[in-house]
């Protein structure tokens, strides 16, 4: 535990960085030139590293995941996401064939579930769900114009409805739209360059042929399936996956910041009061879109372990809020937690959050027995 203590010795500095965002932004803007040169060199190096891995005949997925963990250049992101979620195979030779087949399959789904059905043919449940989807699509990522484009909205609605029909175990659950939203940007960007700051509708978007847009839709659909496979239990009845995450988060907070745990108990603050959305939507609602895309780079690099890292990331985010909330009463604390200042975060802050989460994950997953022992002792009156 010695290194953890050391780690927490530095915690307050890191935590206070949470609230220095505006200053950071100002610094980033004024002495701009020097900073840009260094980042260009770094970007160039990163690009070369990705090129090296991606041009192999059979791509080394482990090497690719390692690189991906630290963020993917926009140019390669669509390709890399397809590879690491195993939508396309690592062997170049078979990629085109598979992609073609998957896209054809999806077109068949459109015919089966969407086009050949008019309103009257749909049963009551389907009508109900399509209305919810329609409503959610209109208000997904409300800050960005790209998501207000009618073509995008129609595509989004259709793919969510098809997802609903193909996944009867959970069906469409609100929040899946949030998880899908970064995929829309990333896969569109493969064909029409998107500004990753404004996320406006690209100027030439209306010229994008319909058949290409359907291919993009297929890619989004299949990658969404792959991502949700890892967190399926978040969306099934009673959300067992979320409950399981809560158990772990409680236990970790108890070990890592007991006064915070005690504070939550004293104030009767339940994780449901604020963390349900954090867990269910993979924190996508809590960060600006550009950062959620960066967050998914790391999450997707984790493969099957994505949900596990997510639990540690959520825990770390709660720990970072500790100095801010401990002086507040229940109402003030919940309002703070539901409206985190993370919408103003920079990529550096997000990367710090992820790296620290990884340190926790590495430590506790190696000493799993220790964590379990604690659970056995302490699961009684936990309010948190």
């Amino acid at each position: 535990m010695a290194f953890l203590k050391k780690f927490f010795g530095q915690k307050s500095d890191q935590q206070s960085s949470l609230y220095k965002t505006n200053l950071n932004e100002i610094y980033n803007k004024s002495p701009f030139q020097k900073k840009q040169i260094t980042s260009t060199i770094q970007d160039q190096k990163k690009l070369e590293q990705f090129e090296l891995v991606l041009e192999q005949q059979i791509i080394d997925l482990e090497a690719l995941k390692k690189l991906t963990w630290r963020g993917i250049p926009n140019e390669y992101r669509a390709k890399v996401w397809k590879l690491i979620v195993k939508y396309i195979p690592p062997n170049h030779m078979s990629q085109t064939t598979i992609l073609l087949k998957k896209r054809q399959d999806y077109q068949q789904y459109i015919k089966n579930y969407y086009e050949h059905m008019n309103e009257q043919e749909r049963d009551e449940n389907e009508r109900k769900i399509i209305k919810i989807i329609q409503n959610d699509v209109l208000r997904t990522q409300p800050d960005y114009k790209l998501f207000r484009d009618p073509r995008i909205q129609e595509m989004f609605k259709r793919l969510l409805f098809i997802w609903n029909m193909r996944h009867p175990m959970s069906g469409y659950v609100q929040g899946i739209n949030d998880v899908a939203s970064p995929l829309i940007v990333v896969f569109l960007n493969e064909y029409v360059p998107i500004d990753f700051n404004s996320f406006d509708v690209p100027s030439n978007f209306d010229k994008l042929p319909e058949e290409i847009l359907i291919d993009i839709e297929a890619d989004i659909y299949w990658c969404l399936c792959k991502i949700i496979e890892n967190i399926q239990d978040y969306f099934t009845a009673n959300q067992p996956g979320v409950q399981e995450a809560y158990v772990k988060i409680r236990e970790l907070i108890k070990i890592l910041d007991y006064p915070l745990y005690q504070y939550f108990e004293d104030q009767q603050i339940d994780l449901n009061h604020f963390a349900f959305r954090w867990v269910l939507c993979l924190l996508i609602r809590e960060f600006p879109l550009s950062l959620t895309i960066r967050l998914l780079d790391t999450y997707l690099a984790e493969g099957d372990e994505m949900a596990n890292l997510h639990v540690y990331t959520v825990t770390n985010l709660i720990l970072k809020c500790a100095p801010e909330i401990k002086s507040k009463n229940m109402s003030e604390a919940v309002i703070f937690l539901q409206n985190l200042p993370t919408k103003e975060w920079t990529e550096v802050q997000l990367e710090m959050l992820l790296q620290e989460a990884f340190v926790f994950q590495d430590h506790f997953e190696k000493t799993k027995g220790h964590l379990k022992l604690n659970q056995g002792n302490t699961n009684r009156s936990s309010i948190l």
């Binding site: 109900k128 209305k131 919810i132 409503n135 959610d136 208000r139 997904t140 409300p142 959970s170 069906g171 659950v173 609100q174 929040g175 739209n177 949030d178 969306f235 009845a237 009673n238 959300q239 104030q267 009767q268 339940d270 449901n272 009061h273 604020f274 349900f276 959305r277 269910l280 939507c281 609602r285 009463n329 229940m330 109402s331 003030e332 919940v334 309002i335 539901q338």
Partner: protein, 210 residues
């Protein structure tokens, strides 16, 4: 943030189908804002507002709940200890009106405490009305609760929801005589959660007046 003086602390929950405007009603009431673009509530959202009812101040702890059925297990955990319930449907969505009884029953099934309720038909601004005023009135009568039609968009009758709910809450709270004494407020006006308030949050007697 100083929340100032108040006489009672009361938990209120807002229930109704997804997309009927629950979040918009609350944001209009608490923050005087409206946006077409509020994302769907996942789990619960939380707001605080002090309501003046005649000479009394009632601090409302309002839980805005997710409408989708899949989240019912989460939202139901917020029923406990609620003093006020706002049932919302959309005037342009027939189904959301048909489902109101389901929401009312879910409350009746899960708590034996009587609560102060109000029925709200929202989206009065829309031309595409699918539920008539008389139908709302009839349903409200059946369950003995006040009824009001509102527009969160145009800020029409929004304050009235809370004023009418507040009047009933006040009668109930006065009957119970559970007034929170002034001495639990610290000098800075900050409020500390203590047992007296917990009592207020978890009613022990039923409400005959609302």
């Amino acid at each position: 943030m100083s929340l100032g003086y108040y006489d009672w602390l009361v938990k209120v929950i807002v229930l109704g189908d997804s997309g009927v405007g629950k979040t918009n009603i609350l944001t209009q009431f608490c923050d005087s804002k409206f946006s077409q673009n509020y994302t769907a509530t996942i789990g619960v959202d939380f707001k605080i507002k002090i309501l003046n009812v005649q000479d009394k101040k009632i601090k409302l702890q309002i839980w805005d709940t997710a409408g989708q059925e899949r989240f019912r297990n989460i939202t139901q955990t917020y029923y406990k200890g609620a003093y006020g319930i706002i049932f919302v449907y959309s005037l342009i969505d027939r189904n959301s009106f048909n489902n109101v009884e389901g929401w009312i029953k879910s409350i009746l099934e899960s708590t034996t405490d009587e609560v102060c309720s109000i029925l709200v038909g929202n989206k009065l601004d829309s031309q595409d009305r699918r539920v008539q005023t008389a139908e709302g009135e009839k349903l409200a009568q059946k369950y003995n609760m006040p009824f009001i039609e509102t527009s969160a968009l145009e800020n029409k009758n929004i304050q009235d929801i809370f004023d009418r709910l507040g009047q009933n809450l006040k009668i109930r709270l006065e009957n119970e005589g559970q007034k929170v004494s002034n001495n639990i407020h610290t000098q800075s006006g900050q409020f500390k959660l203590n047992q007296e308030v917990n009592q207020t949050e978890q009613p022990t007697s039923s409400c005959n007046s609302c």
